[in-house]
């Protein structure tokens, strides 16, 4: 929340400075803001609502439990897939991941899960397509998924 206060402050001060220098450019900036907000908000609400359903009917505890029990390479891939679909805030994901590590979950699976959780976004992909096109979105997410697996297996070797 501290960051939100800072960025609102920066945006507010910039707007005032901009207004003092050129009304026309400021109006242009505000028109950009309003058009962008109206076009983005419905998509984001749809993403958020979907997360609400996923987290309610497929709680993160259950997911990490599945990951913890499925050992082996398939377990790591499943963990990476779960991480790609979920959008769990770090303050929930890290403590849960820690508790499963303590209970003996595969380090590689946990690393794969945490990495795809932040880098790969299946739910946000439609929005990413809107900004950067299909090719870019498909490749950025696919490459991130593969890299997450590489990171996981290297970590498995090092932390063994």
């Amino acid at each position: 929340m501290a960051f939100a206060a800072v960025i609102w402050g920066v945006a507010g001060v910039s707007l005032i400075l901009s207004w003092a220098k050129s009304r026309e450019k400021t109006r242009e900036a505000l028109r950009f803001f309003w058009r962008a907000f109206l076009s983005l908000a419905p998509s984001i609400v749809a993403i958020i609502w979907t997360i609400g359903f996923i987290l309610t009917f497929l709680p993160s505890g259950f997911v990490l439990n599945t990951i913890g029990r499925n050992a082996g390479i398939m377990g790591v891939v499943i963990a990476a897939a779960f991480g790609s679909i979920f959008l769990i805030p770090a303050f929930i994901a890290f403590p849960l991941a820690a508790s499963f590590l303590r209970q003996g979950a595969d380090v590689r699976a946990i690393a794969a899960f945490v990495t795809t959780l932040v880098m790969v976004g299946v739910l946000t992909a439609p929005l990413e397509v809107k900004f950067f096109g299909k090719r870019f979105t498909l490749w950025r997410n696919t490459l991130s998924f593969v890299m997450a697996l590489v990171i996981a297996f290297v970590m498995g070797e090092v932390l063994r």
Binding site: A29, L40, A41, I44, A46, A90, E128, K130, F132, R135
Partner: protein
Amino acid sequence: MKIKAVPAILAVLATATVLVWAMRPDKAIAVLFVSKDYLLEMISILPPVLILCGLFDAWVPRRTIEQLMGDASGIKGTSIAFLLGTVAMGPLYAAFPIGKSLLDKGASLYNVAVFLCVWASIKIPMILFEVKFLGAEFALLRLALTIPAILVISALLRIFRMNTPRIQCYR
């Protein structure tokens, strides 16, 4: 996502919520309650980000961004992309409009890809949190592997010439 797809999806979600409400009111409340936190996050981050994008669009000359983060900017441009991604907080979808604005002003695709991936995965408060729960060894090793991974991903995106079409995304 086609513009018309969004209202359709919202209608499906609303119907599903009402159906769940009819069978299990507690679950429907849970769905809305979980969504509420994310909604607050969106309302607190997205408007100022878009205001700054608008000001950026109106004031910053294309030449400046071309020089700072364009194809010829080298390691300096990538460092700027890296720093921009690290200092900001907020969900990945807030980074999309910023990355798009940079791209429109002449930043290279490589640097924008670095910016997006760094924004998603490298945040100082998040690293501290990871160290606390998963241990310094786990967190720092993952960080040390993530940085080269991001550079490889971005380089591959450039090699594959993932030139993004000039999309008019706000309408």
